[in-house]
Symmetry: C2
Subunit: 347 residues, 2 copies
């Protein structure tokens, strides 16, 4: 419970006063946004694109999305996946969240000297499987090797180009009255990683939810669901993603904690680890903002992908830029971005 | 001299027999190609694109180039540049070598915990300057932080999308009789890095040659120079680049060592360090394969960019896939790819 309160408190460390990079600067939460605002935006301009995971580009007669992510997950192999399929699914999903069909990927490896070639083969074969399952092409790559002790086995960067299938899927398209839907239970990926890292065993093994989301997005678009915004809640979890969206669109979002699907084993693990599941990363889940009248059809389509989708909230005009959560005991709390480094290196 | 002989010997370490990744697997030379052939190609398919730094894509009505590179240079700051401008120029140059106008870049940072924010600001400001000077846009990014001791200050990945200005600039377009031209003196970048790393002082400071090459390529294309192939000799240097091209096109390339421009200070430093300048990386130099009748005009245009361009060789049919060098003493040697890890982490 203390942990939960901590998440909603204001972070006292401002990037401009911190002379050193902290682990939390890579958490995807408050320190990451401060780093972007104070260091990257002054150098790279004020384009709003840089505040999102993907950029929208117009090249010739094509509307494209372009995105990049480096993967530094530790351990490299975890229940349900490894850094290889994570690196493909993660970038495919960033494109899908832009409403884009993933076309081409690049891949850059930074390998630590002494890394087993057998593990590298295992990882690249997982990447091949993931690439083929979504129909994207891996077309260009790069390999660097660093001395022993200057890396951590393997880091992978994937960048991706996608073709926009539906324009204006963005926080700016959200309307008051839209419902907030998640396509399944949250928190599996982060909890799976933490369980392995802490060498914990629960009544059943927690599997990462890493999977590609393009097929689901494509189905929703094929069925003409009026999707206003999509987001995959990775680093920083569901809560941070919602806060980013509410602030970008200057609307309020009210969610009902009771309705958020969480696997009981994950819930137990989070309690044990002192984590708030709302801040735990997913790698195969998405939040969709949809017109209320399409909620039932959206849920049906999501169900056909074999998950546990739920309407968890609604967009309002009353509390601009605020995300409020009705708690299990009936009170309300204001959700803030993730502060500090609750879960370093989960992706 | 021993060092030189070593470069032309066959490397005894085959990737399939090496159970661990070696520093040389990231050298851009023979071990790197073995890694690509034995690990990456079996997973990622036999597309010839993966053998080059950039892929050619057709999207809508546009012909595009797409490329990625991770930068792990050490030290991060060196005479003439830093990892930031290197990461921009390097990816811009890979696009330019495809005959493409650089349009959009992505940027992924992997930062080691404890890295000084001041250095990060310095580096991002260099990136801004480089981005602006070439007119490319940095549109999307990502930041990860790893624990102290799991990185080496900062690694940067940049990926880039460019619009093809002239099609079929590729090793496959080379014709026997083409001349081989370099736009300036070679080996500055690698020697500058090694001098700083080894804490050596020469009669004058050796500056990295890091610079963007798009402006020069654009001028050559504007003047309708029939360029058949372009390559920037980075990791593995001039010799490795020529060998890769000769093998890809199955032609012979004969160069005259006497004609290769090398700054005397760089030459002296290479002798001192036991390096063959033909294998030392450049970051602002390119090799152009051009019809012989256009050699003089090409040299003139290159001179207007303030360098020391020279015709260094010619393409022949006599020795398919072989690069031969006429040495200073009149003998000939066969050049092979760089073996081992002569210069780890120079980019």
């Amino acid at each position: 419970m203390n942990q939960k309160l901590e998440f909603t408190s204001t972070c006292p460390v401002k990037t401009q006063h911190s002379e050193k990079i902290l682990l939390g600067h890579g958490s995807g939460g408050k320190l990451t946004s401060q780093l972007i605002e104070n260091v990257f935006l002054p150098s790279f301009g004020t384009s709003s694109d840089i505040l999102h995971d993907g950029a929208f580009l117009k090249i010739g007669n094509s509307e494209l999305a372009f995105t990049t992510d480096s993967y530094v997950v530790q351990p490299l192999f975890f229940p349900g996946g490894n850094i290889g399929d994570l690196a493909i699914n993660g970038t495919v999903n960033d494109l899908a969240m832009c409403g884009a069909r993933p076309l081409y990927l690049s891949c850059g490896f930074i390998i630590e000297e002494g890394f087993p070639v057998e593990d590298l083969i295992h990882i690249t074969q997982s990447m091949k499987t993931s690439v083929e399952s979504v129909g994207v092409q891996l077309v260009t790559g790069d390999t660097k090797v660093v001395e022993k002790g200057k890396g951590d086995g393997l880091y992978i960067n994937t960048s991706g180009i996608g073709m926009i299938e539906k324009e204006r899927i963005s926080p700016l398209s959200i309307q008051p009255g839209d419902v907030v839907i998640v396509n399944g239970d949250i928190g599996c990926h982060g909890t799976a990683i933490m369980s392995v890292r802490e060498n914990l065993e629960f009544e059943s093994t927690i599997q990462s939810d890493t999977q590609e989301l393009y097929s689901l997005v494509h189905s929703l678009l094929q069925e003409n669901i009026p999707i206003h915004c999509l987001r995959d809640p990775t680093r920083g979890g569901l809560a941070t993603a919602l806060v980013e969206i509410a602030e970008a669109r200057k609307v309020g979002i009210e969610i009902d904690e009771d309705k958020i699907p969480i696997n009981p084993v994950v819930k137990g693990a989070c309690e044990f680890l002192g984590l708030d599941p709302l801040y735990v990363a997913c790698e195969g889940r998405m939040i969709a903002f949809v017109e209320q009248s399409y909620a039932a059809r959206t849920i049906e389509i999501m169900q056909s992908f074999g998950n546990e989708p739920r309407v968890i909230g609604v967009v309002n005009e009353q509390h601009p830029s605020l995300v409020t959560a009705k708690t299990f005991i009936g009170t309300k709390r204001i959700l803030d971005r993730l502060t500090g480094d609750q879960l370093p290196r989960i992706c």
